[in-house]
Symmetry: C2
Subunit: 130 residues, 2 copies
């Protein structure tokens, strides 16, 4: 597995995109939104990995609740895997609790699944099939 991206929760995408592009040399590769999950995202390439900026469309979305509880900041870490079903089965066999019972389509247009942070030392962890 390789480090695929770090998810960062922000209240507003625009100023955060400006900071990461102007100060940290990141390249904005694409933006996407997901009405069902109530979030929009911007993907910024930084070397081999990405920063994924996440902003809520609604206060009662998962990211909206995260911001209300913890404030802006690091949200999750994602690893690229070649076979997401195998990664999920291995994690389950090791006793980790998966948030997603089945892979689902992520905003990169690839299959993703989240592992519960309580199983990974407080880190919300995502597998991305790449």
């Amino acid at each position: 597995m390789r480090l695929h991206h770090v998810g960062v929760a922000v209240a507003d995408l625009r100023p955060a995109i400006d900071m990461y592009t102007s100060l940290f040399g990141a390249e904005l590769t694409h933006r996407a939104s997901n009405e069902k999950d109530g979030l929009e995202a911007a993907f910024l390439q930084m070397g081999d990995a990405e920063i994924e900026l996440l902003s809520p469309l609604r206060d009662d979305s998962a990211v909206g609740k995260f911001l209300a509880k913890r404030g802006p900041g690091m949200h999750h870490v994602a690893y690229a895997v070649s076979d997401i079903r195998k990664a999920m089965a291995d994690a389950r066999a090791a006793g980790l609790e998966l948030i997603d019972a089945e892979p689902r389509m992520g905003m990169h247009g690839t299959l993703i699944a989240f592992v519960h942070p309580k199983s990974v030392g407080g880190v919300l962890t995502e597998f991305v099939e790449a």
Copy 2:
């Protein structure tokens, strides 16, 4: 800049190293400790970037206080820069607050400096000269 590593605070290094190597395919490259800062660290390669596991040697260290306040989890994000003094000057010119006024030697044996999380949307941000 490229994403250099993600710092993750843990209570104990050993079980965390075991999880990242066995489940996430990470390769343990080296371990280090810093008595002055009261922490020990393990560096795990995952593609082009690393996970840096951080564990306190003392409760009153910065990482010890972080664990007491927030619990284990994501601690900081680090970017590789070619010229750390320029990165620091650019950040300062943009109004960001630096924690380190001057670059200092990090546990990779390279110069590092931290930017205050309040200047980067709640993300404790590190520059690493690489």
